[in-house]
Symmetry: D2
Subunit: 345 residues, 4 copies
Amino acid sequence: MVWVGIIGASGYAGAELVRILSGHPAVQLTLATSRQHAGSRFDSLYPALKDCTDIQLESYSEERVCQNADIVFTALPHRLPMSIVPEILANDRKVIDLSADFRFSDPERYGAAYQSHTAPDLLKEAVYGLSEVYADRIRSARLVGNPGCYPTSVLLPLVPLVRGGLVEREGLIADSKSGVSGAGRSPVPETLYCEVNECFRPYKVGAHRHTPEMEAILGRETGKSVRLTFVPHLVPMNRGMQSTIYARPAQGVSAADIAAAFSDAYAGCAFIRICSSGQVPDVRYVRGTNFCDIGFKLDEARNRLILMSAIDNLVKGAAGQAVQNMNIMLGLDETTGLGAVPFPV
Amino acid sequence: MVWVGIIGASGYAGAELVRILSGHPAVQLTLATSRQHAGSRFDSLYPALKDCTDIQLESYSEERVCQNADIVFTALPHRLPMSIVPEILANDRKVIDLSADFRFSDPERYGAAYQSHTAPDLLKEAVYGLSEVYADRIRSARLVGNPGCYPTSVLLPLVPLVRGGLVEREGLIADSKSGVSGAGRSPVPETLYCEVNECFRPYKVGAHRHTPEMEAILGRETGKSVRLTFVPHLVPMNRGMQSTIYARPAQGVSAADIAAAFSDAYAGCAFIRICSSGQVPDVRYVRGTNFCDIGFKLDEARNRLILMSAIDNLVKGAAGQAVQNMNIMLGLDETTGLGAVPFPV
Amino acid sequence: MVWVGIIGASGYAGAELVRILSGHPAVQLTLATSRQHAGSRFDSLYPALKDCTDIQLESYSEERVCQNADIVFTALPHRLPMSIVPEILANDRKVIDLSADFRFSDPERYGAAYQSHTAPDLLKEAVYGLSEVYADRIRSARLVGNPGCYPTSVLLPLVPLVRGGLVEREGLIADSKSGVSGAGRSPVPETLYCEVNECFRPYKVGAHRHTPEMEAILGRETGKSVRLTFVPHLVPMNRGMQSTIYARPAQGVSAADIAAAFSDAYAGCAFIRICSSGQVPDVRYVRGTNFCDIGFKLDEARNRLILMSAIDNLVKGAAGQAVQNMNIMLGLDETTGLGAVPFPV
Amino acid sequence: MVWVGIIGASGYAGAELVRILSGHPAVQLTLATSRQHAGSRFDSLYPALKDCTDIQLESYSEERVCQNADIVFTALPHRLPMSIVPEILANDRKVIDLSADFRFSDPERYGAAYQSHTAPDLLKEAVYGLSEVYADRIRSARLVGNPGCYPTSVLLPLVPLVRGGLVEREGLIADSKSGVSGAGRSPVPETLYCEVNECFRPYKVGAHRHTPEMEAILGRETGKSVRLTFVPHLVPMNRGMQSTIYARPAQGVSAADIAAAFSDAYAGCAFIRICSSGQVPDVRYVRGTNFCDIGFKLDEARNRLILMSAIDNLVKGAAGQAVQNMNIMLGLDETTGLGAVPFPV
């Protein structure tokens, strides 16, 4: 039995890790930290999990973490992980970081979007944890930078097409919509019930920090600079993320070519479901699951490819993909502990 | 491996049965019927379950059912089960019926609330499937009448107290609130999104057919006629049911007595969680689970006991309790296939 | 043109006052204060009102208020109004206070529920602003304590019946449900979107401070001590409040008697709508309006009267009733500025 | 006092017309028809409007309509208006049609999107009722084709820019999101509460019939063929429509140029509000109002202009704009009856 710990278990992503890891048959959740709630039982914070876990939240201590965990998940605000991950790795522990701190290979790019990186050497070895795309590298990684929720929803449909040259690199647009849990559990006026319910709005228009993350990966995959216009929107729902992506098909590309590219790229990938023709992804179909549903429509009259994806922002967009990465690193079937049947309603 | 079938799999309760049974480790879902959608794959109706089940919906046929199922769930509108259950039982199959048809032992009472019963003899042997209360009888039953959602939420907190004489029989009131999935999947104006969202209303005030069901069980448990005032309300949410129940405590009854009665009644019951003092049940804590959370407040100044419960109407209030009953009938641990860790958010 | 000011305009009730008063044909909104947002334009806080008001938020100053307002609305947390209202009244201004500070005539009772009252002499002259019930006293008041939202929804159906002796004083129960705006705009974890959406729970069970407010009025109307069991619940919706009230009918009372009592009590009251038989109040019918819809069902078999009411907690439950009271005090038609046709959906 | 009638008053758009016209100070609502609900009072269908209108629904009769109305609103499914509008016009009545039947000037284009037009001659004189853009022609029209909700939300931000050549004609994209009331009141499974709540999905991807409507207007304004990629999405909320529109700025165009174009185009337009820099439209700010809020962000690094708009789909997107058009036709101030102050929450 592998021992796992969570640094930062009281936010929504951390709590979702507790949920998944508590039900995981091959690991034991041995430790969970929270600065704010140290000393409290986790289920006093999340009574839903009463009788499902008796874990107690504690303060972070390098010693406690390294004594009690073989693999460590860090679910902290960016900037904190880069200060503690080096010491955890130095103890021969593996780390899956859910923040942005280890998603970039280039410290300049990270610095431009966030702040100066204090552990730039680790960026060379950190693997971007987009599970289906980088499984081979994840398998042998000791440090995984778990992708952002928006990048997961945009890159899974886009990467196979840019890799194969099926769409033009120029003029890519992603119009994304997220449920509110993505904004986290810290109380701010913007995510109060009455400020979200019966509301719909874009935010951080053309300025969201997931943009450089996506551009970096698209650039790596094409070997060229790629620019992406990205506008996120807030949807009155708890969980779920939908992206509609607009691209120019390369000359001569047919709908069958697109379909084939997805089939090839994601053959054997249990969590990718390609919609049949005429069907569209809906976040409700993936709620509470690690699935990414992908659909597309090629509008030949307008020379436009419309890609659509749906994920659960807390699962495939955060904790679920992190556990999928852990499974890959441990040599387990990637679906272990992630195979619950989705809710029909 | 036990073979199970579902008669009426296309409604919300039937679909929830498909979800739970598809993930159940000790049974095989072999058959699912739908009059309206016969010939379609189940996942074309509920795309959430794509890659999770490949069951095909078919028309009802006694022969097909009895060939393919050892245990049969009927999730049909009342009146239909009583016409087919006799022939299924005659084939030595066991039946768990989710309609009202086998919840009453007295055909008169059933007739007064619904219509004339066409298989009244079966009412004598049918067992009321309130799992924690009637486990002993369920264990050896061949026909279980699965309780209504409201009765489950009201009886689980009330039965231990009326049994023990801790509350007065007179003047019981249950004010209940249900998510919209309880109204089913047939399109009617009342359950359109815009007719429920940002709405809140009572319905069938003092006239809901779950009232005689509850009064019958309370009467059986006390040996006397019991009258219950019951008002259901519709809440803008998909799943969940909350009941606030008002009773007069018997003379001299203390909060400790109430707590002890619950501890005694539900010791070892994995799905009953009694809230600690100061906490209240919230439907979000039980969403997607088979839990029933129970809390109470004794207001001595007003000589009033306030009981509160929360369930998921589709799980503990329907499909989950049905599978729990199946587990009991099969001699399995009652939590088999029902143990998923709840979502924190 | 009468000049009016709002002390505390940045919360939801204050903002609703801005909305109503900005559209009121007989008054001019001349001043609005906010400690936290002094110096900002109101519409920078509530962009919905852009082009509808150009009022600027300022700090409280007795001098500014009394120079600029004939009538002052105080929409502050309790305890603050009692420190400033005396000086405003001393300047011959009239005050309508939306907090609890002037709802009680007995300082002891106020003190037991809140804290020691620092202006107890004013309680003698303050008029409880339940418009339809106390219009005569409101007309000549210089200080009105505007009722709480829950009391408004419970007292409007109950008062005519307890006055007339149509229900028993003993054993009254109010099970109430409120939209989230009632919790205000201060960011706390409990009212974050994800902590309310798809949730339903009771709160402050048997301990809400609106209980003594209701008991005081019911006591005044019956001349005897009245005890009320009151349980509020939180509904995932922005606005709206529904109460289901359970009472014992007095001997011999018929449904016609109840209907007649309402007709008599509320004849000519533009904002009270009595549901016809078989219809129930729904909060959606009163959303954004000053209506209180009232329905009832007499269950003779169980000797129980079920009363139901629906209001908009921010309008009839707060700002709307406050403006109605202002209209009465000014000798205007009570519907002035409050007559917008409700939204059908 | 002008007499107005509504043909098709029982759907959501028709009911919204009843709401607005009942409160309109310069007209009298004299007649409302409904095939399905003829003989019922309107407020039995929409109890929110009890005491606000006593209009009775009746069957359509040319004679009754022309006797009782000077101006007629038709709020019927497309295809029905073109069969009755000719006879109403022949009686010298004016018509504002909310369906698609009179939005196209070219019968071919209408026929391609809908079906063969049976009154093609009227298309020549029908005026497209985008109030701010075509006010001059609306003023003297006897037949107005009221724009679709999506076209209103897309064209109001786009038209001033394509007119002025500030954006390229090629590669326009509109990603729109609508509340559920846009789907109407007929009960279908897709708009049941549980099939929308906690859901988010695109629909009619690249195939919505509002696309040719928008392309026709954009073509007229540029004098050239324009192609628009349009993807609508369904948002779990009752009312509201948000569009995010992506365009290439013409060479040398600055943010100041865009701002100036809007200022010029919409100077004196009471219902157009241009967001200040850094602010974005949110549907909540326009809920229940006839406003169209418009914002934009010029992303120079990516050579992309992002336009954003928000309207209430039932008001500016349907009934409100229809009444605005009526006001223009009657020579009234365009805001008459449409000036209610928006709700802050």
